[in-house]
Amino acid sequence: MAKDLIVLCIDTGPSMGHITAGQAESPLSLSIKIATTMLQQKIFYPTKDEFALVLFGTRETANDLADDDGNYANISIVQKFSQPDLPLLQYLLEEVKHSDISSDFIDALIVSLDLFQKCSGRINEKKIYMFTDAGCPFDDQDQLDQVLTGLNKHSIDLTIIGPDLSPSHDSAMNGSDYHPGDGDNKPGKMVHKSKAQRAGEEILQRIISQGDFASFSFSEALKALTHIKKTQLRQTTVFRGDIEIGPDYKIPTYGYLRVKENKVSSWKKLSAISQCSTNPGSMEVTLARTHHLGDEEQTEISKDQMVKGFRFGKNLIPFASYDLSSTAEPHLKCLQVIGFSRCEFIKRHHFIGDSIVTFVPPVTEGSQAFSSFAQALYEMNCTAIVRYCFRKNANPKLGCLYPHIRPDYTELLFFQLPYAEDIREFTFASLNESEHSQEEIESMDDFLDSMDLSEAFIDPTGDRCEAFEPKYVPNPHIHRMFQCTSHRALNKDSDLPKLDPLINDYLNPTFPGRTNVKNCLEMIQNLCPLIEIGDKKTKKANIFKKDIETGAAPVSEELIENMDIDEALSSDVSKVGSINPVKDFEELSKKHGMFRLACEQMQECIISLIKESFSDQNYPKAISCIESYREVCVKFKQPAMLNKFLQSFRNKIIGSSDNPRDQRHQAFLTLLVKEDITLISKNECDCDVTLEEARLFLQTLHSISTEVDAKNETQDDEVDDLLENM
């Protein structure tokens, strides 16, 4: 695997240690911070990349080019190219101090260049990161061209971090306070630039412009490194083959992974026993897996004596792998189009795979077939339904190819779609989405508006832009892991560091623009009251916990005997059911704000009890319901609830029509009269129904019921007669 070679070239001259007014840190400490972050990230995602560290402006001189004449003095190569490790990191953090000696940065560049001479192996990229504030003197400008040719010859990428070399540099020189890219925007910083610095910057500017190199200020560099990024993997294909439409038409293509969850390598186990011992060795843990029969001796058997047993119903079917391979025809590698479907038939939530594969033409020449295919799909708003098998005998995947056309590339994105087995058709109750009052709708709309994210983020330049665009959101868990690992490696036995504020900002964002939310919330809370139900488990656990804590007498046996499991479980009544309506109703009505609901449900329950009654089977239950209902209404001083209900009672049960089938429940009215259930009158509760009216109601009911009774009697007589005739 090819590797990158990176030289970190850090200026430790006197000006680097100087803290300019208004800055919290010296340029050197900033440089070190940046360099260590770079190293830490490389260490966290291990690569083959190698780092070298060159310091210039040191007291010592340690490089191969130095001679006794004082050439290349005060430049030391701390570390030649090697994979970054903890000692290097620690050296950077602890040993690098600024000195009072300046050294030429061009000399330092030459020393760095020289390092590349001696490296071998497959090399991908060569980079030099130079950290300097250009405060050091330089003498021979002649070497500059030498440096540039050297850089170009070896195709080395130079990045200079430190000085402000942005195009607006000139205006800054002219006294303007504006420093783009420097987030601090501290006025008057430039004033402190020495003459030497300006001259140095000029030279650097020349290098950059001539070699087409990049430069960043310290703050820019720090910002760029805040998110740990995985080093890009080499671009490798996951599929090389043809898109087949029909047996003969084939479009050659390469497939690459486009989106896939980035996973860091898993944690390794370590033996704490070994760690505690005085002389810890490798501390490694091995897993010993043994297989045993269920007999008395626990006979151990080897893996080749075992066979897989698959469940079939409740039986286990021994199933050797040859059983399948002997009968099956192999799945061939393919990307075959089954047909085409319009995009609207493909549901977004049906995307099922754990990655997105992109397909592009392998070569640019002769790729019209590919681009016409993608273009046609795009224009017709269609997708190709394909069978995709990335290698022989892989499980074939069903999926669709979406065209994705951008100005600089065209690709087909493959999304895996579910098979019939993968779809679970669950039914969920309707939510009555349309039954909301205007008020509710308005307050929710306000809430939605105030929670807008599409313009919630304010970037440094003051523009509003989209917040939480996935492309820019770091994975907080990986970031946290990185933070903790590097912290623990550098500080053994310390506690976990505090959560990086940057990550916290992502997890608990504050949006200064959201002012209206509070009001909307209150509105919504009033309109849709929410009652939190405690965790049942903890509630039960607490019953005993409380006793222990307060030292209460142990639960008496009698109490335990009388404890009703059903009762204990059914304390959360949410509906008046038909099994035990009286109890349900009483429970429910006690709850805050549920009275009206409870009443409505009780009414329904009573009616249905009567209506569904087979002859007079349910009547006693219904009567007890009405009694309970009446009682509660009096208690809550809501007589109207009952009175209204009773007044409309007759119509509800019997109906206005003279349909004889509906007449049969008139007997219930008689029963009602017999039980002496009246309207709630003035005497009992505050309302405008007089005692007289309450009685009158009873009388009317009575008259109706007797009328019906009479009718029934005649019928009964007839039946008796008939029976006698038999």
Binding site: F310, V360, Y402, L453
Partner: protein, 820 residues
């Protein structure tokens, strides 16, 4: 979600099992009917009048009170063929249950009947009422009587309101008796057809047995059958295990019982009857000759009959259960016999003397003659294992430890149904029909209309609706909704397996020990820490610290960040299968209302929510989008898409791969148009439900073939394979045009790395020197033969006519041998 096991359905068995369920139902009801009819026929005859003309019942209650009317009404319901008679049977059963003098056995029986009514095929008549009560009864094991009585009331109401007027009208038409044909809808007609077909078969069978000639023929057929498999007498059909050796006895027993019944009906004196019954018992159920039970009934049943006879004396129905038991097996063979009769001409039958009409005594003598029947007395656990497996098959006994009774296996193959609609029709599976509070969509599917779908079952895993997690959705501080997170699409994995011992298929327990390399000690979980290599050093953490690293926020659940227009959800924003959110009132009461408000407004404003989701346990937070979905129903009122939010997991910055590729050559208008024509011709409406997973289905079928001892796994059509014929038919011309226009480069198949490497090898001149140019002999002499490559060596060996197999060292040896 861990499912206890995967269940398959099986198409060939399907029809058979269907028949069985049908038959067993049939076998419950006729008995009730016969006993009733007998009683009532007498009544009717004594009154000498048709009850319909007797008087007009005023309501259903009248009918119910009058046994005569009741019988007629029942007949009327049966004639309707829509299963409505089960409502009446249910009412009767519950009525019986209300009596307190019942024996516990009887109570259990009644419960079983009720379950049959509610869960059996006829359950549609109940379910069609869409009353929550039925679902409740179905769900509760041994429902309380009060609940059943409620159901009774409901049914009585229906019978009164719907069927009573029809009954009256029917009687008024002056038709005496009950007409068995009705002009019902198609479904009813089909059911009726099945019924009549079945009943006809039964009648024919009875007729056949009573006829002397066919009786003898059938008997000889059975004799042949039992001889044919005399070394393997145990057979399993449907849910019955029986021995073919007992078939002959079965038919004898059956005819003896028939005779006994006719004796009873002829008002024979009770002594004779009892003697007759006793002889039957002695001959067939408690024989002094081994085996004790000579017919295919279970020992339990035999004992019950013997006891029954002792206590109750010779009643008419004393042998009823046993008769039924043998009847089923005989019925199966009767069908086979019929087929056999068609296939083989009667004359080809080996001539069998007409057996003299046997008395019971000499039939018992005969038993001694054909003694070599070695059949296990009970269908014990060992039976299927002892059962010899045909020699051409590898021996694959079913494991002992796991209920090896194949007899158990067959009826238990759970048919899980692809569609919810079918679920309501499926029988014997309480779990499937499970209509929760959560599921009342306002209308339940009309089960009767979907009868046909019963036959369109698929092999698939059955998933229970169960939230992955009940958690909270925090809209903002102080506003938290209760929600359930569900999984609506998830790749179904291959069936899980257990390791078994190869020799005798016992469970194998796997033990994992953690050993410390330095000290060799066995480690417990407490002794384990975790590390990650960091620049050559170990960064060591405790287990708890690892969890802390994931728990970045105290709040667990979904935390809403805000809303964006739906268009911000890009195609690339996909990471893993989505989940589904639905309010859960058991976490926060009132959630439903607010949730539905949120949902409806999000849909109206075309917004999606963004949130952090920290799942259960130590799962790391993920960014996810909330995609609203409104409820949709199809034309028959069945919910197609449920209302709620889809939880679309979003990738993080690191999850996007940065790729570099060139822009392809642009296509011309002509090329695009040609492609469009192809696409237009090959358009179809994609439905995810129409493709089955080929590799999974293959595995299911192989497994099934192994389990049921089939020679070949069932055929399976892989619809994911493009139908090239169809494609050419529809767009052959267009495709040809397209390939002309687009000039796709000559199809050199894109080579994979491995292939290229091999191709390079082949063309390497060093390794491919023809043997003619190499002086093998010289090389052998100079000791350089090892330097030759395998192909050269092989080629040489072939040229001298020697075997050219083995490793290189072998080849070299052989070459050397050749020259020595």
């Amino acid at each position: 979600m861990v499912e206890s096991g995967s269940k398959f359905s099986e198409s060939n068995q399907r029809s058979q099992i269907y028949v069985w369920t049908f038959m067993s139902r049939e076998n419950h009801s006729p008995r009730r009917k016969t006993s009733h009819t007998d009683k009532f026929q007498r009544k009717i005859f004594s009154s000498n009048d048709s009850p319909a003309q007797h008087y007009q019942p005023k309501n259903f209650l009248d009918i119910f009170r009058d046994p005569v009317q009741l019988e007629w009404f029942k007949k009327f319901l049966i004639s309707r063929g829509d299963g409505s008679e089960y409502m009446l049977l249910y009412i009767l059963a519950v009525n019986e249950l209300k009596q307190y003098t019942l024996t516990p056995d009887r109570v259990m029986n009644i419960y079983r009947y009720i379950k049959t009514y509610l869960l059996g095929v006829n359950s549609e008549i109940f379910m069609r009422q869409r009353h929550p009560l039925w679902f409740r009864i179905r769900r509760t094991h041994n429902p309380p009587v009060s609940l059943l009585v409620e159901g009774q009331c409901l049914l009585a109401k229906i019978l009164h309101e719907e069927y009573f007027p029809l009954y009256i009208a029917f009687n008024k038409e002056g038709e005496k008796g009950v007409c068995s044909t009705g002009s019902e809808s198609d479904t009813r007609g089909r059911r009726l057809y099945r019924w009549t077909k079945f009943i006809k078969a039964v009648i024919e069978f009875r007729k056949g047995l009573l006829d002397q000639n066919s009786h003898t023929c059938f008997k000889s057929y059975l004799l042949k059958e039992s001889k044919m498999c005399s070394n393997n007498p145990v057979r399993i059909i449907g849910d019955k295990v029986f021995s073919t050796n007992k078939l002959i006895k079965d038919i004898e027993f059956w005819s003896e019982v028939e005779r006994y019944k006719s004796l009873y009906d002829d008002n024979c004196n009770s002594d004779t009857l009892y003697r007759k019954a006793q002889t039957i018992v002695e001959c067939f159920l408690e024989s002094s000759i081994s085996p004790r039970i000579q017919i295919n009934v279970t020992p339990d049943l035999a004992n019950t009959i013997i006891q029954d006879l002792d206590t109750n004396g010779a009643t008419r129905g004393v042998f009823h259960e046993a008769e039924l038991a043998v009847f089923i097996t005989l019925m199966i063979f009767w069908r086979r016999y019929e087929i056999w009769m068609v296939d083989f001409d009667m004359k080809k039958l080996p001539h069998l003397p007409l057996l003299p009409k046997q008395t019971i005594q000499n039939s018992s003598n005969k038993k001694q003659e054909k003694e070599p029947i070695i059949v296990p007395n009970k269908p014990t656990i060992q039976t299927p294992i002892e059962k010899p497996i045909p020699s051409n098959r590898r021996q694959r006994p079913v494991t002992q430890g796991h209920a090896p009774e194949l007899s158990d296996l067959l009826p238990r193959i759970s048919y899980s149904l692809a569609s919810r609609r079918c679920c309501l029709l499926s029988f014997g599976h309480e779990d499937i029909v499970n209509v929760d509070e959560d599921e009342k969509t306002g209308s339940l599917p009309d089960a009767a209309d979907k009868f046909e779908e019963l036959l369109t079952r698929v092999r698939s895993k059955d998933h229970k609706k169960r939230p992955l997690q009940r958690t909270k959705l925090k809209l903002h501080d102080g506003l938290e909704l209760g929600i359930g997170v569900y999984s609506l699409v998830r790749p179904t994995t291959k069936p899980s397996f257990k390791w078994l011992d190869q020799a005798n298929h016992q469970d194998v327990k796997t033990q994992t020990k953690m050993l410390c390399n330095d000290t060799g000690k066995e480690l417990t979980h407490v002794d384990i820490k975790f590390y990650r290599d960091f620049g050559g050093k170990k960064a060591i953490f405790e287990k708890e610290e690892l969890n802390d690293m994931k728990q970045l926020d105290e709040f667990k659940g979904l935390k809403l960040l805000g809303f964006k227009p739906r268009s911000r959800l890009k195609l690339l924003h996909h990471l893993r299968p989505s989940n589904f959110l639905y309010p859960d009132e058991s976490v926060v009461k009132g959630s439903k209302k607010l949730f539905s408000l949120l949902l409806s407004r999000c849909i109206a404003k075309d917004l999606i929510g963004y949130c952090w989701y920290q799942g259960r346990g130590a799962s790391a937070p993920r960014l996810a989008a909330l995609l609203p979905q409104t409820q949709e129903k199809d034309e028959s009122g069945i919910q197609v898409t449920p209302p709620g939010f889809h939880l679309i997991y979003l990738p993080f910055a690191d999850d996007f791969r940065k790729l570099r590729y060139e822009k392809p050559e642009e296509a011309t208008e002509d090329q695009i148009d040609a492609t469009k024509r192809v696409i237009r011709n090959l358009l179809f409406q994609f439905k995810a439900e129409s493709f089955e997973n080929p590799s999974l289905q293959r595995e299911y079928r192989v497994l099934e073939a192994l389990a049921l001892d089939k020679d070949e796994p069932d055929e399976f059509t892989d619809y994911t394979k493009p139908n090239n014929e169809q494609i050419l038919k529809k767009a052959g011309q267009e495709l040809a045009d397209l390939s002309k226009i687009c000039h796709p480069p000559d199809h050199q198949p894109v080579k994979t790395g491995a292939k290229r490497a091999r191709a390079a090898d082949a063309s390497d001149p060093k390794k491919y020197c023809p043997s003619g140019e190499v002086d093998i002999e010289g090389m052998v002499k100079s000791g350089q033969v090892e330097k030759l490559t395998i192909p050269v060596l092989k080629q040489f060996l072939i040229s001298v006519g020697k075997k050219s197999t083995g490793k290189k060292a072998d080849l070299v040896l052989m070459v050397k041998d050749h020259f020595q």
